[in-house]
């Protein structure tokens, strides 16, 4: 009974979060005269969307690095696979000639949104259903392609130990990036140019017949997808597979002695992590509204790794919290460091383009060196526990007063 009760509370929390996000992005449309921060162009929504995307990738990396103890640096490569799979499958047929104009059109004449619009019609509810179905299937396929390639590269590479695994996966990501920029594959990948024109998060905003937005869902959609994926990952971590992963992380030899198949479980973790990295990559393509191999460099992997470290290696909620903090700082709160500032007639020194990232990387180094546990260590955020602790303190203080 108790278990069931706990879950209803969590489900309620998630639903409240969703409603809050929808409210947040629609409030400026419903009530006029809201402050600029709630307008759709505000950096708040950029941060929320980007952080939602990144937190999925960070959690997927944490599954591998924090829970299985496999130090892999291939995340950007799997994101690239996901982004391209999604983009190639969902560019509408009538846009293809324009997107692939350098290569005289796309090699294959197929597009998921068109396929479903053929079935459900392209107006009203029909177009909505086909958009949702097309995106959903493309996202799952994006994950599958990333997972499949992870399986292929995992066979030779997963036998390597810590830093060799890291450098091999990093190399694999670089190889993928080169392949996707190859002009000979242009009819499929559009060479080194970007693919665009596919459905993005803004495509989910509901408009009326005159084109006015009546309900914004562009922030809700990434939240929804990420939440579903993270719930799946958490379920995996809490299952017997998750316990096997953790035992491999803590002591490979002991885990093997207890009858855990090392290779099988490492592969499972690697493929699943890459699956979600692929989904995250597809969402990243939706967020920036294009897919381009140039974006998925090793710097991106480092960024995600640092997020995982800040949040605490081995903590899902830590990764999510750290992502929101990291993205908010880098995209919004520390922006002022990049522009010159005057206090009266005094020009504040050092403030110039790029200073934000310097401050930021120093903060990261301080965290890495002095707070290596990160925000959460390997604990999970537990609202009920916090509440209980607060109550205990409260009652203790009360007792003291008496």
């Amino acid at each position: 009974m108790k278990v069931k009760k706990k879950h209803t509370r969590e489900i309620a929390g998630i639903i409240i979060l969703f409603l809050f996000v929808i409210l947040l992005e629609n409030i400026s449309g419903v009530i006029p005269g809201m402050p600029a921060i709630l307008q759709p162009t505000s950096p708040l929504f950029t941060v929320l969307k980007k952080a939602a995307v990144y937190s999925l990738v960070a959690v997927s990396m944490n599954l591998l690095n924090g829970f299985t103890g496999l130090f892999s640096l291939g995340q950007a490569g799997f994101m690239l696979l996901g982004a391209y799979t999604y983009a190639i499958l969902t560019v509408p047929t009538d846009q293809k000639a324009q997107v692939y104009y350098l290569f005289g059109g796309c090699a294959f004449d197929f597009s998921l949104p068109d396929l479903f619009q053929g079935i459900f019609g392209n107006t009203g509810v029909g177009s909505a259903v086909s958009l949702i179905l097309a995106t959903l299937i493309a996202l799952i396929l994006a994950g599958c392609v990333a997972g499949f390639f992870a399986y292929l590269i995992g066979i030779p590479v997963l036998r390597l130990k810590s830093d060799y695994l890291a450098i091999a996966t990093l190399g694999f990501a670089e190889i993928l990036r080169a392949i996707f920029q190859w002009q000979k594959l242009g009819p499929v990948t559009n060479g080194a140019n970007m693919i665009k024109g596919f459905p993005t998060f803004s495509s989910f905003n509901i408009t009326d017949t005159t084109g006015n937005t009546i309900l914004r869902l562009s922030t809700f959609v990434p939240f929804f997808i990420t939440t579903v994926c993270i719930i799946l990952i958490v379920c995996l971590i809490n299952s017997s597979y998750g316990r096997a992963f953790k035992s491999i992380r803590d002591d490979e030899i002991a885990a093997e002695a207890m009858g855990i198949g090392l290779f099988k479980h490492k592969m499972l973790s690697f493929v699943i992590s890459s699956f979600f990295a692929g989904v995250g990559g597809a969402m990243f393509a939706m967020y920036v509204a294009n897919a381009q191999a140039k974006a998925f460099t090793s710097v991106m992997t480092y960024e995600i790794l640092l997020i995982v470290v800040i949040g605490g290696i081995g903590s899902v909620s830590g990764s999510v919290l750290a992502t929101f903090l990291y993205v908010a700082c880098s995209e919004w709160w520390l922006r002022f460091l990049d522009s010159e500032m005057y206090l009266g007639s005094f020009k504040v020194p050092l403030l110039r383009n790029g200073f934000r990232m310097v401050v930021f990387s120093i903060v990261i180094m301080v965290i890495v060196l002095f707070f290596s546990e990160g925000i959460m260590g390997d604990n999970e955020l537990n609202l009920a526990g916090l509440h209980r602790r607060f109550q205990r303190k409260h009652s203790a203080a009360k007792k003291e007063r008496e």
Binding site: V157, A166, F172, Q183, V299, L305, L306, N353, V358
Partner: protein, 295 residues
């Protein structure tokens, strides 16, 4: 024929430059078991220092200064970012190295304003010379010779001097050499100093022959030099040098293939493919010791 010679020449030159970086990797890895991700960025910083120094000082002063400052930078990085983590798991040290690399790149972006900087023309090195009918720069000829001299000096240092003996002892067994009274910290610092000095020399040679320096210019040569070190057998200096020459030559050959094939985009990817193949089939590398804990 002339084309073949020019491709080979520049391949050997590029390989020599990688070799100078690769030695830094292989020394540090041999002792700390750490992939020093920041090493490529130290190389980039040395390049930027070269630009800023030569702008104000004469070349005869600025180039030694570049080497000294780079050495100090390498030393400081080890003391600040790696030494506090000596007892921590290997993953934490590697994350710290990635953090340092991120910091150096961002600082370089801040200082340069993100603009590509052109390297100054160094007299003599940038002059052209005629070899077997192909025009090339002196730096291309000099690099392999200089690399050979430095490598011989380094192997002498490692095989003949007390510091060298301490380095070999530490790389064999960290704990035991500590018990034998070797000052671990000074040995590690010496390694970083040698590595950074070689990276500084490498950066002078590399960027003389290179159009511009961007804040990201160090990461790719750095990774390739690491692959060279793995290829030659990590911990082995001759191995790193030979690996670097092979990778440099292969890379220039790929870049020099007919443009209708359009494979120059794979010049970086080839290096990593080579890495994966080596790790899978011969993880100890060409000259590495067989008994390591890589796999």
């Amino acid at each position: 024929m002339e084309y073949v010679i020019s491709v080979l020449l520049s391949g050997i030159s590029v390989g020599g430059q990688y070799a100078l970086i690769a030695i830094g990797y292989t020394l540090v890895y041999g002792i700390l078991r750490l992939i020093n991700f920041a090493h490529g960025d130290v190389f980039m910083v040395a390049g930027l220092l070269g630009i800023y120094m030569t702008a104000t000082l004469p070349i005869s002063v600025s180039l030694p200064l570049v080497i000294i400052i780079t050495v100090f930078l390498g030393f400081a990085i080890e003391r600040v970012a790696y030494k506090p983590l000596r007892e921590a798991p290997r993953m934490s040290v590697m994350i710290s190295a990635i953090g340092v690399s991120y910091l150096l790149q961002n600082t370089a972006t801040y200082v340069t304003g993100g603009q590509p900087m052109t390297y100054p023309v160094i007299p003599f090195l940038s002059d052209t010379v005629n070899v077997a009918g192909t025009q090339t720069k002196w730096v291309v000829i000099l690099t392999p010779i200089l690399v050979l001299v430095l490598v011989i000096a380094l192997t002498q240092l490692i095989n003949r001097t007390k510091v060298g003996m301490a380095m070999r002892a530490v790389s064999k067994d960290f704990e035991t050499s500590r018990l034998m009274g070797i000052k671990i910290n000074s040995v590690i610092s010496a390694t970083f100093i040698i590595g950074s000095a070689l990276a500084a020399v490498g950066s002078i040679l590399f960027f003389t022959n290179y159009p511009a320096i961007t804040p990201m210019a160090g990461s790719m040569p750095g990774l390739k030099a690491f692959v060279a070190a793995v290829f030659g057998g990590i911990g082995s200096i001759p191995g790193a040098v030979i690996g670097a020459f092979i990778i440099g030559i292969c890379e220039t050959i790929i870049k020099g293939l007919p443009s209708s094939w359009d494979v120059s985009v794979f010049s970086d990817a080839f290096t990593f493919a080579l890495l994966i193949v080596i790790l899978v089939f011969k993880p100890q590398g060409l000259f590495g010791e067989a008994a390591t804990d890589k796999v």
